[in-house]
Amino acid sequence: MSTPARLFPRRRMSSATAALPTQVRFLAWRSLLRTARQPIIIVPPLVFPLFLLAINASGLDAATAIPGFPAESYVAFALAFPFVQGSIFATNTAGTNVAEDIGTGFFNRLSLTPMEGPSLLVGQLSGVLLIGTVQAIAFLAAGLAAGVEIQSGIAGALVLFVLSLAICAAFGTIGLFVGLRTGSGEAVQGLFPLMFIVLFLSSAALPRDLIAQDWFQTVATINPVSYLIEGLRSLIITGWDGEALALGFGVAIAIFAVGLAGSTLALRERLVRT
């Protein structure tokens, strides 16, 4: 069922392929509605990162006095943090939704239709991107309200927006992979602390060159999340930094590609199992 091209005759196959955008549209609409109807899915990813930003910005404002600190305001420096933290919530949302679909039998019913795998994955990610959009607007508005000036200007704010959505989609594919692989909402929830740890063991709180502990600096350098944060941060506090942006987008695309490949395999296996 996952590969209708092999199952349908040539004439039917072309119509099935042509139906792909329709399938994506229906599943995306379902995912958007499902997300929008559950405030519990939207509110924590908005409130929790903003709360942590408020605490860290005040609690660590003294860190701007460290020689070589790249910003005058810690709020500006830390503003990239909620974008990535919010994206981590996307992992949970995507994974929990797909696990719920498996648990309720929706997936089994879907596998009896000529639905294609890619449309299912893209459709499931739409809800995540909706949350990502709401988050990006809220975090940017909160930063501007707190007096942060985006050094790269309006165009930079737009790129910031695009990069944050790319990060959301990238983490969303990880959630999809775990959800499809395990079919368990609990397993997806168990991923959250792990993702949180990865976020904290990055250059989120201080620039890498100012991290005094060698082991932490090494971990932060290896940690891909550092490059996502640094890409976003460069637009806020530096201006246009080609290297930081290339690394940020590169890492987001790489995570997305790996997550999508894993999800596609897991989906194929899941459909065989069902």
């Binding site: 408020a54 660590l60 005094a212």
Partner: protein, 258 residues
């Protein structure tokens, strides 16, 4: 069987069951173990440059963060047991236990003792790792005993809060209602820098936050230079005493609900 022996038997059974579950299902105890360790690594490792700021005035940033992590794990250790209470309500086990046990407060006492035992295990692990990674201890044995005593009271107070809430709401779905207030109280105290270096709204909130005095006293004990201990112990004990009432009334509501 005397009432006292019966009470102890019920409490002991609940303790044994809880610890047994934690051993048999490591996923239950793993967050309680991993989170303090991770916070210690992230804060002490990632922010150690903050310890060199002018006016910081504490002898070792690792020790500064260790005390916060110790008290945080004490508080969350109490709350994590609340999950067990909630799960037992969800499965109907607590209701059956209430029917069997004449002294129902013994059930809550049992959960409380389990919370203390589990928290003590976490503290020992974090302490060993902190020492192994270069934390310097300024205080002597008596100071450290005082620090552990303070953490114990915080653990009991947090447990009583969780028990009071869970006996009222009687479902695991109420878990965020236990965690969020605690998280807020902990994070609006001087977590990263001493109070003198705090700026903005958090400076004002920290001033009135009871956790500030408790954390500052803990840090002073760690440094071997005790400071406003009486205030810290009075606040922690007062909070625990008030939460005894909260937990007792919650238990009565759970009994009434049947």
């Amino acid at each position: 069987m005397k009432p006292r022996s019966r009470y102890l038997a019920v409490a002991r059974t609940v303790v044994w069951r809880n610890l047994h579950s934690a051993v048999r299902q490591p996923a239950l105890i793993l967050p309680a173990l991993a989170f303090p360790l991770f916070f210690y690594m992230a804060f002490a490792g990632g922010l150690s440059a903050v310890g060199d700021l002018p006016g910081f005035g504490y002898y070792d940033y690792n020790a500064f963060q260790f005390v916060f992590v110790l008290l945080q794990s004490a508080a969350f250790g109490g709350v994590f047991i609340g999950f067990s209470i909630g799960a037992d309500f969800d499965s109907g086990f607590t209701r059956r236990l209430f029917l069997a046990a004449r002294a129902r407060s013994a059930v809550i006492t049992g959960f409380g003792v389990a919370a203390v035992i589990r928290a003590a295990g976490v503290w020992a692990m974090v302490f060993v790792i902190a020492l192994a990674t270069g934390m310097e201890v300024g205080g002597n044995g008596i100071d450290l005993a005082g620090l552990v005593g303070l953490a114990l009271i915080v653990n009991v107070a947090a447990f009583l809060f969780a028990a009071g809430l869970m006996t009222r709401l009687r479902t695991l779905q109420a878990a965020p209602a236990m965690q969020l207030p605690l998280f807020f109280i902990l994070m609006t105290s001087p977590v990263y820098v001493p109070r003198d270096l705090l700026q903005g709204w958090i400076e004002t909130v920290a001033e009135f936050n009871p956790m500030t005095a408790i954390i500052e006293a803990g840090r002073s004990l760690m440094a071997g230079d005790p400071f406003h201990l009486l205030l810290a112990f009075a606040l922690a004990s007062g909070l625990a005493a008030a939460l005894v009432v909260f937990a007792r009334t919650g238990l009565r509501r759970a009994e009434a609900a049947g």
